[in-house]
C-alpha cells in the first residue's frame, strides 16, 4: 500500500501546487518540496522498519485488479533495484525543485505540477510489475516533460519538445505492440491471459517471435537510454529544457531505459538477449566513443554535458550485455553516479546561465576568480565525469569494465579508451570555463545558500558512493541476481527438459491469487 501512497502523494501534491500556484508562487514551491520530502521520509521509515531481505522476495508489494477481464492489475512491487532508483528520484527531485526557485517565474504552479507528475510517472515506472501499468507510467512521465521543455525551455524549445516527444512516443508505441504480442504469446501458450510481469517470466516462444518482441522492448529502452544511433533527440531536449528539466531528463529519465533493460528485456527474453548481446556491446562502445567525441567538439556548454550523457550511458548498455554480476553492479552504480554527476553539471550550467546569460564556452573563461565555490563544484563534477577514483563514477566504470572484460576482452579494451576521451572533454570544461584567460567583464555572485545546499548535497552523495559503494551494491544485489538467474535458469531448463519451465511459471501462485 505504501507504494501506491508514494505515487498518490506526488500526484496530489502536484495538483495542490498548481491550484495554490495561482495565489502565491512560494506556496507551490513549498508544497512540492514537502510532497517529495514526505515520500522520501516515508520510504526511509518503511525500509528501517522492514529491512531489506537478502532473498529474491519483494520488499513491498501491492496488487489490486484494474481491468480484470484483460488480466490487468495495479501491481506495484519494490526490490533493491527499485529502492535505489526511488532514492535517486526523490533526491534529484528535491534538488530540481530547489534549483528552480529563482529560475522559474512564469506559471510557477503549473511548473511544479509538471515536475511532480514527472516524478510520479518515473517512480511508477520503477515500481510497476504489470506491463500495461508499466507502459501507462512510461507515457505519464512524457507529457509533463513535454510541457516542461516547451513552456519553460530556451530559444529553440518548441522544436526540441516535439523531437523529444515524437522520438519517445514512437519507440514507446513499438514497445506497446511488443507488450501486446507478449500478452498474446503467453496467453496462447498457457490459456491464461495476463499482463503480470511475474507470470510472463519464463514464457516460451518460438525464436523469431521472441526476437521480434524483444526488439519492440529494446527500441523503447535504447531510445530512452539513449544508444547511438537513437540519441538524436537527447542533445536538443537537454539543451533546450530548463535546468530542472535537464536534471530530471539526465538524472532520472535516462535511467528508466537502463532499468527497463535490466528488469524487462533480459529476464523476459533471455534467448534473444543472448543473440543480441554482441550487437548491444558494440552499440555501447560506439556510444561511449562517439558521445565523447561529440562532447569534445561542442561549444554550447549544455550541449556538451548532454553528449557526455550519451557517452556515459554507453557503459550501461555495455554492462547489461556482459551478463555477469560485476558488470551489473557497475551498471547500477553508473545509473546512480551518472544521475548525480551529470545532474550536477546541468545544475551548474543553469547557475552559470542565470548569471551570465550565455552557454557558449568561448564567451567564458577565467571565471574562477569571481566564483571560486562554483568553480570548485565544477571541478569536482568534471573529475567525477572523467572517472577520478574516490568519486562514484570511477567505481561504476571500473566495475563495468571488469565485468565486460570477463565477457569480451576486445569490447572492454575499446571501451576503456572512452575513459581517456572523458578526461579530455572534462578537463576542457574546467579549462574553458573556470580557468584560462579572462577576457570578459562579467559581474557574478557566487553560490547562494540555497544553491550551496543543492550542490553540496550532490557533492556529498557522489563522494559517499565513491568511497563506500557497498551499501548500494548490497541493496541491488538480490534484484540483479534475479535478472541473471532468470537468464541462466532458462538455459539450464533448456538442457534438462521443458517441464522445468512449466514449474517456473507456476511457482508463483501468490501473485495469481492477488490478481483475483
Amino acid at each position: 500500500m505504501i507504494l501506491l501512497y508514494l505515487i498518490i502523494i506526488l500526484m496530489a501534491g502536484g495538483v495542490l501546487a498548481w491550484l495554490l500556484g495561482k495565489r502565491s508562487a512560494i506556496s507551490s514551491r513549498i508544497i512540492s518540496l514537502a510532497a517529495v520530502s514526505i515520500d522520501l521520509i516515508l520510504i526511509i521509515i518503511a525500509i528501517l522498519q522492514n529491512g531489506i531481505p537478502d532473498d529474491k522476495k519483494w520488499i513491498f508489494e501491492y496488487s489490486v485488479s484494474w481491468i480484470p477481464k484483460l488480466g490487468i492489475s495495479l501491481h506495484l512491487a519494490m526490490d533493491g533495484l527499485s529502492l535505489l532508483m526511488l532514492f535517486l528520484t526523490f533526491f534529484l527531485g528535491l534538488i530540481a525543485i530547489l534549483i528552480s526557485w529563482k529560475e522559474i517565474q512564469k506559471s510557477v504552479g503549473f511548473f511544479h505540477f509538471n515536475i511532480l507528475w514527472i516524478l510520479s510517472g518515473i517512480i511508477g515506472v520503477f515500481l510497476s510489475m504489470d506491463l500495461f501499468l508499466f507502459y501507462f507510467f512510461w507515457e505519464v512521465m512524457l507529457i509533463p516533460m513535454y510541457f516542461l521543455i516547451s513552456i519553460w525551455g530556451h530559444e529553440n524549445r518548441i522544436y526540441a519538445s516535439y523531437k523529444f516527444f515524437i522520438f519517445t512516443q514512437a519507440s514507446g508505441l513499438l514497445m506497446f505492440l511488443a507488450i501486446l504480442g507478449l500478452y498474446l504469446a503467453h496467453g496462447n501458450a498457457t490459456g491464461y491471459y495476463t499482463f503480470d510481469y511475474q507470470q510472463l517470466l519464463g514464457t516460451t516462444y518460438n525464436p523469431t517471435i521472441e526476437m521480434l518482441l524483444m526488439c519492440g522492448f529494446l527500441i523503447a529502452f535504447i531510445v530512452k537510454l539513449p544508444v547511438v544511433p537513437f540519441h538524436n533527440w537527447l542533445p536538443d531536449a537537454h539543451t533546450e529544457a530548463p535546468t530542472a528539466g535537464s536534471l530530471i531528463l539526465a538524472g532520472l529519465m535516462l535511467k528508466t531505459g537502463a532499468y527497463g533493460l535490466l528488469r524487462f528485456v533480459v529476464p523476459l527474453f533471455p534467448h534473444a538477449s543472448q543473440i543480441f548481446a554482441p550487437f548491444g556491446m558494440i552499440l555501447g562502445v560506439i556510444g561511449i566513443l562517439y558521445g565523447a567525441k561529440l562532447a569534445f567538439s561542442q561549444t554550447d556548454l549544455k550541449r556538451l554535458v548532454a553528449y557526455t550523457s550519451v557517452s556515459h550511458m554507453g557503459f550501461v548498455i555495455l554492462g547489461v550485455y556482459a551478463f555477469n554480476e560485476l558488470a551489473y553492479q557497475g551498471v547500477v552504480m553508473q545509473m546512480i553516479a551518472h544521475g548525480i554527476s551529470t545532474g550536477a553539471l546541468f545544475v551548474l550550467v543553469g547557475q552559470l546561465y542565470e548569471r551570465i546569460h550565455t552557454r557558449d564556452i568561448n564567451k567564458m573563461g577565467g571565471l574562477w576568480e569571481q566564483v571560486p565555490i562554483m568553480g570548485t563544484m565544477g571541478l569536482v563534477f568534471a573529475m567525477a565525469s572523467l572517472g577520478l577514483p574516490g568519486l562514484g563514477n570511477f567505481i561504476a566504470e571500473f566495475l563495468t569494465l571488469v565485468g565486460t572484460f570477463k565477457a569480451n576482452i576486445l569490447m572492454a579494451s575499446l571501451a576503456s579508451v572512452g575513459l581517456i576521451a572523458a578526461t579530455i572533454y572534462s578537463l576542457r570544461i574546467v579549462q574553458k570555463v573556470f580557468l584560462g584567460k579572462k577576457d570578459n567583464d562579467y559581474k557574478m555572485k557566487d553560490l547562494s545558500i540555497r544553491e550551496m545546499v543543492a550542490m553540496g548535497s550532490l557533492v556529498v552523495a557522489i563522494i559517499f558512493i565513491g568511497l563506500y559503494p557497498q551499501p548500494v551494491i548490497n541493496t541491488a544485489k538480490p534484484a540483479l541476481m534475479k535478472t541473471l538467474n532468470a537468464k541462466q535458469e532458462y538455459y539450464q531448463s533448456q538442457k534438462v527438459d521443458d517441464s522445468v519451465i512449466l514449474n517456473n511459471r507456476t511457482c508463483s501462485p501468490d501473485t495469481r491469487k492477488l490478481n483475483k
Partner: protein
C-alpha cells in the same frame, strides 16, 4: 403493433414528438429559452426512457427494427451527445440573428434519424434513418444565413451526400435483386448458400461500401468532410462528427457482422486498403492545416480508418472495442468542438489555430480541456483515447492484423505532431491578455466532458464490462 412495441419505441416517440411540440409553441410565441429548456427536458426524458425499455430487450419490431442491447447503448450515446450539443448550440445560436427556435426542431429530427439508424436491421429502415439524418444535417450546416461559407458548405454537403445516398440505394437494390431479401439476416442467409459472389451482388456490395464510405468520410470518399467541418457552425460540426458518424458506424458494424463480411477475401482486402489509406491520408493532410476545424476533419478521417480495424477483426472483441472507441471518440470530439464553439461565442473567432495562442493564460480551464481532448485523440494515457486505442489494437492483433496494427502505430506518431501543435500553441505566450469568460452551462458541459474523458481513461473496466455484457 402491440403495447410492448410502443414501450420499446418510447425513446423514438419522445424524440419524434419534440419537434412537433416545438413547432406548435413557435406558432404561439417565439421564446428561445422555453424551446431550449424543453429540448433539454426531452433529451433527458428519452434518456430515462432507455431504462424503461431495457428490461424488454431484445425486441424485434418486424420487419424494420431490432431493439437490442447493442442499439440501446448506441441510443444512450446519441441522446447523451444530443443533450450536450443542445447546450452548446443554445450558447452559440443565441448570439445569432432571428429564427433561432427552428434550429432545435431540426436538431431533434437529426437525432431521431440517427436513432433509427442504430436500431435498423433492414435496408428500408437503414435508408429511412440515413435520409432523415442527412436532410436535417443539410439544413443545419447552412443554418446561419449570414455566413456565406456555411451556405457553400451546406450545398456541397447536399450534393455529395445525395450522390452517396444514390449509390447506397442502388447498392441495396442490386443486393435485393440477387438475394431477394432486404433484411440483414435474410441477406446473410442468402449469402451463406452461395459459393461465390455473383457480379451483381459484388457490384451491390461495392456500391454499398461507396455509400457508407462517403458517409463515414473514408478515403477516397472524404473530399467533402473538411469543407463541411469548416463551413458548418461549430455545434453542427460537433453533431456531424459525433452523432452522425457514430450512427452510421453502428449500422455499418451491424450489417457487416450480420453478413460476416470479413470472411470474404475481396471485401477484406478492399477494406484493409481503405483503412490504411484513410489513416495515412487523414494524418498527413492534417499536419499542415492552419484551420482547427479542418485539422479535426482530417483527424476524423484517420480515426475512422483506425475504426475499420475493429470491423476487420471480425470478433466480438472487435465489436466491443469499436463501441468503446466510438464512445471515447465522441466524448473527446465533443470536448474539442465544445471549446471551439464556446470560444467562437466569447471571442468571435476560433477557427484558426492561431486564435488559440496563449489560451492557457487567458482561460486556463478551456486550455486544459482542449489539451485533454487533443491528448485523448492522440491516445495518451490517463485519457479515454488511450484505452480505446489499446482495446482496438488488442482486438486487431488478436485476429492477427499486424499490418493494420503497425500502420496504426506509425499513424499515431504522425498524428502526435499536429495534436501537439494545438497544445503548444495554447501554451505559448501572446501579448493580448483578455480573459474570456464562458457561460455557466458551457462550463458544465466542459466539466462533464473532462470527467468522461478521465473516467474512461482511468477506470475503463466499468464501461467495458457493460459493453462486454452485450449479446
Amino acid at each position: 403493433m402491440t403495447a410492448l412495441d410502443f414501450i420499446c419505441l418510447a425513446p423514438f416517440l419522445l424524440l419524434a414528438s419534440a419537434p412537433i411540440i416545438i413547432m406548435l409553441t413557435i406558432t404561439i410565441t417565439r421564446n428561445i429559452k422555453v424551446v431550449y429548456g424543453f429540448s433539454l427536458l426531452m433529451f433527458l426524458l428519452s434518456f430515462i426512457s432507455l431504462f424503461i425499455v431495457a428490461p424488454y430487450i431484445p425486441h424485434v419490431i418486424a420487419p424494420l427494427f431490432i431493439i437490442d442491447s447493442y442499439s440501446l447503448l448506441f441510443l444512450a450515446i446519441i441522446i447523451f451527445a444530443g443533450f450536450l450539443i443542445t447546450i452548446l448550440s443554445y450558447i452559440y445560436i443565441s448570439q445569432q440573428g432571428d429564427d433561432k427556435e427552428e434550429y432545435f426542431i431540426i436538431l431533434f429530427v437529426a437525432a431521431l434519424g440517427a436513432s433509427v439508424l442504430v436500431v435498423a436491421n433492414h435496408f428500408i429502415s437503414f435508408f429511412l434513418g440515413l435520409e432523415t439524418l442527412s436532410i436535417s444535417l443539410y439544413i443545419l450546416v447552412a443554418y446561419i444565413k449570414t455566413r456565406s461559407y456555411s451556405i457553400e458548405a451546406g450545398v456541397k454537403f447536399l450534393v455529395i451526400a445525395s450522390v452517396a445516398s444514390a449509390f447506397l440505394l442502388f447498392g441495396m437494390g442490386l443486393i435485393y435483386t440477387a438475394t431477394g431479401s432486404m433484411n440483414f439476416k435474410g441477406v446473410a442467409s442468402a449469402l451463406g448458400s452461395l459459393h461465390a459472389l455473383s457480379p451483381i451482388l459484388l457490384t451491390g456490395f461495392v456500391m454499398l461500401l461507396v455509400g457508407i464510405g462517403f458517409k463515414l468520410a473514408l478515403v477516397p470518399f472524404h473530399m467533402w468532410l473538411p469543407d463541411v467541418y469548416q463551413g458548418a457552425p461549430a455545434p453542427v460540426t460537433a453533431l456531424i462528427a459525433t452523432i452522425s458518424k457514430g450512427a452510421v458506424l453502428a449500422i455499418a458494424l451491424r450489417f457487416f457482422m450480420d453478413i460476416q463480411g470479413f470472411n470474404n477475401q475481396a471485401i477484406f482486402i478492399a477494406l484493409s486498403a481503405i483503412a490504411i489509406i484513410s489513416m495515412f491520408t487523414g494524418n498527413l493532410l492534417a499536419l499542415n492545416q492552419g484551420n482547427l476545424k479542418r485539422m479535426l476533419a482530417y483527424s476524423s478521417i484517420a480515426h475512422f480508418g483506425y475504426l475499420l480495424i475493429t470491423l476487420l477483426a471480425g470478433s466480438t472483441e472487435g465489436i466491443h472495442s469499436a463501441i468503446f472507441y466510438i464512445a471515447s471518440y465522441i466524448i473527446t470530439t465533443l470536448g474539442a468542438f465544445g471549446i471551439i464553439s464556446l470560444l467562437s461565442v466569447c471571442s468571435g473567432n476560433a477557427d484558426s489555430i492561431d486564435d488559440y495562442k496563449g489560451l492557457f493564460y487567458k482561460n486556463p480551464f478551456m486550455a486544459i480541456v482542449m489539451s485533454l481532448a487533443m491528448l485523448s485523440l492522440a491516445g495518451i494515457p490517463l485519457t479515454a483515447g488511450f484505452i480505446a486505442k489499446f482495446y482496438l489494437v488488442l482486438a486487431g492483433v488478436k485476429s492477427g492484423l499486424w499490418l493494420l496494427a503497425f500502420s496504426l502505430v506509425i499513424n499515431s506518431v504522425i498524428s502526435l505532431y499536429y495534436y501537439l501543435r494545438v497544445v503548444t500553441t495554447m501554451f505559448t505566450t501572446s501579448d493580448q491578455v483578455k480573459p474570456s469568460t464562458i457561460p455557466l452551462m458551457g462550463n458544465l458541459v466542459l466539466v462533464v466532458i473532462v470527467i468522461g474523458i478521465l473516467f474512461l481513461g482511468i477506470l475503463p473496466a466499468w464501461v467495458s464490462d457493460i459493453i462486454a455484457s452485450l449479446s
